[in-house]
Symmetry: C2
Subunit: 116 residues, 2 copies
DNA sequence: CCTCAATATTGATCATCATCAATGTATGGA
DNA sequence: TCCATACATTGATGATGATCAATATTGAGG
């Protein structure tokens, strides 16, 4: 960040002024990156998409292993990452595990981009 | 996706019906994941934040190597990833390279989450 | 209890990534 | 023309991640 607003665009000698504190702290950045890391995989995006598209609002693992071309352990692994990121909620009923979108989580994630 | 809406939530025997096409195609997912991959690194988030916070709307590389605790080649590498993802714009003037947010890119990325 | 079905966990492997040192490229000034 | 500056590229390395096979766990039913 340049210290001299006057020089911001016009001149060509205003570069490399040390500047103020970083807009995003290292810890905040690390925290926010965790959520985007969870979204940074095609199969996880598809998992979210499938769960979201489900009219009931929830899907069990066996509904998710089919559309994706992945083994069951891999799907479980991806689901865990999405749960840990706060994007999915897991509820076990009987033998099945039902996954649903955490209400507002996607909107909140979108908000992270606005407040960068 | 279950085929029988009647059974979606109430019953406990409605699991694992093959279901319709995935809500998000494999190609779409791969494409969208690319953008989130670019956001999935703390230092890249801080780069975006710094560029965004800049009153002039642009920063040169030397303004970015300081706040982050990274070498110049690493910062250049991250900037390239952000440019390739369509989030940053690069303009070379003289010896310096100026990076600025692509207008609407963050908003568009936020939109990706809404249309999962 | 015993077994089966659904899901989770572990361990291993291969690929991708973040980082740096060294080098290359281009631009401006003496 | 030569040098210094700003940035990019390359090559190598250690770390993280995605995936699977095998195994463990948990719950339902007989």
């Amino acid at each position: 960040m340049n210290l001299l607003p006057v020089l911001e665009t016009a001149t060509d000698e205003a570069c490399c002024v040390p500047g103020g504190p970083p807009a995003l702290s290292a810890e905040d950045a690390k925290q926010k990156a965790l959520v985007f890391k969870a979204l940074a995989d095609p199969n996880r995006l598809r998992l979210l998409s499938i769960v979201k598209a489900e009219a009931s609002g929830e899907s069990c693992v066996c509904d998710l292993t089919g559309p994706l071309d992945l083994g069951q352990p891999t799907v479980s692994h991806h689901l865990k990452i999405l749960v840990d990121a706060g994007l999915l909620h897991r509820e076990k009923r009987g033998t099945w595990a039902y996954y649903s979108l955490v209400p507002g989580a996607l909107e909140q994630t979108a908000g992270l981009l606005a407040t960068l």
